[in-house]
């Protein structure tokens, strides 16, 4: 089956599969290539995704406009790969008629693109079936071991549970500091989870762009039967994203989940040149109610790893020493390098 690759959570895997194609959400390792000078201003994740997709055998590559770096990387990618590239408009506003109209229009345009790369017109019943199958997979408890077929399928499509499972448990091991992570997507091969564990902490909330925050809303069965495309759009437009204007919904989600999971500290893991997350670091520190570590990353190198481990360890020490690992604090702290 031909494979369609994407990284943005606003691309519905259900829609791709309903067209008879395989949906592959790629979160490639971000390598900091010291042999070349880094391109000033270019997001390392956008660069890695472009290079990864161009170097693999995909039938089509889907970028979105959810961030300007990806929007522009799509054009560069299209110039340097023979594979078909599709740029999907993802609205920044969410509560307007325009946003819904744009998103539904883009789903239909994506569908036409998928047909040009080997897909077929989706049958209405098949679409509903695929949507419900994904819904059931999302309904699985997050504490699943990750080795069931549906859990692995979910990992492939949505990536979020993988990070939680790698952390060892979703409820946090006794005696460890309970951390949340927010920010840019965390690559499949990232040592981040190991680094957190080594520092004596457990991730109990993955609010990164590859985590559970970016899951679509539950589909309403009646609406789904009436108009599956409109319901798919409604569910995906309900995702909380930092790129939304205003992005209050994203902050509300974070505050709610930080409290519900008893998170003791939040790591903002953002890529260098990612303005969307960078600008919000102070607001995060002010609003989530727990200390925040602002961790900038440009890729996976030994030097970067050592620096990251050191900073996470310092953060955990502060949480344990100053605020006590067993109680939550309302003191906001932004630690920067």
């Amino acid at each position: 089956m031909a494979r369609i690759v994407y990284s943005c959570p606003f691309v519905p895997a259900e829609w791709i599969e309903a067209h008879g194609l395989s949906a592959c959400r790629a979160l490639p390792t971000v390598r900091c290539d010291t042999a070349r000078s880094p391109q000033a201003g270019l997001c390392p994740f956008a660069r890695s995704f472009s290079e990864f997709t161009a170097g693999n055998d995909y039938a089509g590559i889907v970028f979105t406009t959810a961030c300007d770096q990806m929007r522009r990387a799509s054009e560069l990618a299209a110039m340097h790969t023979s594979r078909p590239v599709f740029l999907m408009n993802v609205p920044a506003t969410t509560q307007t008629a325009a946003a819904k109209r744009i998103y539904i229009g883009e789903l239909r345009r994506l569908g036409r693109f998928l047909k040009t790369v080997g897909g077929h017109e989706p049958d209405r019943d098949a679409l509903v079936h695929v949507i419900l199958r994904h819904q059931r997979m999302r309904d699985q408890p997050w504490s699943a071991s990750g080795d069931s077929p549906s859990a692995m399928e979910m990992d492939r499509l949505e990536a979020g549970p993988t990070l939680m499972r790698k952390a060892g448990a979703t409820s946090g091991s006794p005696g460890t500091v309970r951390l949340g992570v927010v920010g840019g997507p965390i690559p499949d091969g990232s040592p981040f989870v190991r680094q957190v564990a080594r520092a004596g902490a457990t991730i109990v909330l993955d609010a990164s762009d590859s985590g559970e925050r970016t899951r679509p809303a539950r589909m309403e069965p009646d609406r789904l039967r009436h108009d599956p495309v409109a319901e798919l759009a409604r569910a995906y437009l309900a995702i909380s994203s930092i790129h939304h204007r205003p992005n209050d919904r994203c902050f509300a989600w974070l505050r709610r989940e930080v409290a519900a999971r008893d998170v003791q500290g939040l790591i903002l893991r953002r890529y260098v040149w990612c303005d969307l997350w960078h600008a919000e670091a102070p607001r995060l520190a002010e609003s989530v109610g727990v200390p925040v570590l602002d961790l900038e990353t440009d890729g996976e190198t030994d030097a970067a790893a050592a620096r990251t481990v050191s900073r996470i360890e310092g953060f955990v020490e502060i949480l344990v020493g100053e605020f006590g690992a067993t109680r939550r604090s309302s003191i906001a702290l932004v630690a920067r390098s």
Binding site: Q39, G41, D68, L87, A92, A98, R245, P246, N247, A279
Partner: protein
């Protein structure tokens, strides 16, 4: 904020409304020789120099001593740079309510899809024009409500005609200056004249007068063969505005002159259509924004204008930290070189170029000498 030219026409058409772009604060550090300390304030708010110099706007909203805080803030988002979007969101988070409107990425029409022509020569799908039209109508209604007025599209049509008169005058001025030899008006003065088109510096009547007088002066100089630069100055097409305005003088100091520009608001220079309903006309203008579409289309326009004005070299001025600047320079350079066989260089211009001025001059000199060598 951000759309640079379209919402201002809309706002200025409504009785008792004055429009201005706080975006322009990005020149304040340069003009005030950094005494306004706007960038330092932005630093203190966690928006450091990895962001584009438009972060000065954030500082200006905090110090409140650069411009009056507007009664209503509207901001285009979607196909815009992340820097601006992120900074505008911070403003919102700091308690400045913003009415956001969606500016989708301008995409090429699909085969057989209904499309309309845009100012500047591009096309856009009719569907996208309709979406932007609805968004602008929503913004127009919000502005009218804030001013205690009724939203009247007849007034918008009149505002478009008035705006087009200014754009036409500016077009005449640019054409005269970019094609006359010797150059009758320096680059810096022309950059400021172009900026008037964005929001008339909040005074349409004064803008009329300034452009009228500039045009008269240029006509007089052209008639008498007077110029401000040597006749053999190399004709440079300039891409992107500079945060440090002195750099516009540097290119002239090393033997160049500006013949063609894309300061990121070419859509504010082109005539707004008058053969369609006013809100559709504004939507077409908004979608013509070179920053809202593919860079390759921006490069198309640069090639057309460079050929029209006889440019001998193209200079892409990178804005430090701006999300579009990481990739656009390479694409523009590749297209310009392949189509026009012109030398292209990319420079980076921060808000203060004191420390890098010798290096900048060397690069500008290299461009000018290369272009001159090719045309010798």
């Amino acid at each position: 904020m951000k759309d640079l030219g379209t919402a201002a026409v809309l706002a200025c058409s409504i009785t008792n409304v004055v429009a201005f772009y706080p975006d322009g604060a990005w020149w304040t550090p340069c003009i005030m020789e950094h005494n306004a300390r706007l960038l330092e304030v932005a630093d203190s708010l966690g928006v450091p120099e990895s962001f584009c110099p438009v972060r000065a706007m954030l500082g200006a909203f905090v110090t409140r001593d650069r411009f009056p805080i507007p009664d209503l803030l509207v901001c285009g988002v979607g196909a815009t740079c992340d820097d601006f979007s992120a900074i505008a969101q911070r403003l919102s988070g700091m308690g400045h309510p913003i009415v956001w409107w969606e500016m989708p990425h301008r995409r090429p029409p699909e085969p057989g899809e209904p499309a309309v022509g845009l100012p500047g020569g591009g096309v856009a799908p009719t569907e996208q024009v309709a979406i932007v039209e609805a968004e602008l109508r929503r913004i127009g209604q919000a502005i009218a409500a804030a001013a205690g007025q009724r939203f009247d599209e007849n007034l918008i049509a009149a505002g478009i005609r008035r705006g087009n008169a200014i754009r036409a005058m500016l077009d005449e001025l640019r054409t005269m200056v970019f094609t006359a030899d010797p150059c009758p008006m320096p680059a810096l003065e022309m950059l400021i004249a172009e900026m008037l088109a964005i929001h008339y510096c909040s005074d349409r009547n004064e803008t009329d007068q300034v452009l009228l007088e500039l045009r008269g002066e240029v006509e007089r100089r052209v008639r008498s063969g007077m110029g401000v630069l040597p006749p053999d100055a190399v004709r440079v097409f300039w891409v992107n505005p500079v945060a440090d305005l002195r750099v516009m003088n540097l290119v002239e100091d090393v033997g160049g002159r500006i013949c063609g520009t894309d300061y990121m608001f070419t859509h504010a220079l082109d005539a707004i259509p008058e053969d369609c309903p006013p809100m559709e006309a504004l939507a077409r203008t908004a979608l013509a924004d070179s920053m809202a579409g593919p860079v390759s289309q921006r490069a198309d326009r640069i090639c057309r204008d460079a050929a029209r004005f006889g440019s001998q070299a193209v200079l892409v001025s990178r804005i430090p930290g701006a999300s579009h600047c990481a990739t656009e320079g390479a694409i523009i350079a590749e297209i310009v070189r392949s189509r026009l066989d012109l030398p292209v260089i990319e420079i980076e211009v921060p808000s203060n170029t004191d420390a890098i001025e010798p290096g900048l001059c060397t690069r500008l000199q290299a461009l000018v000498e290369t272009a001159r060598g090719r045309h010798a």
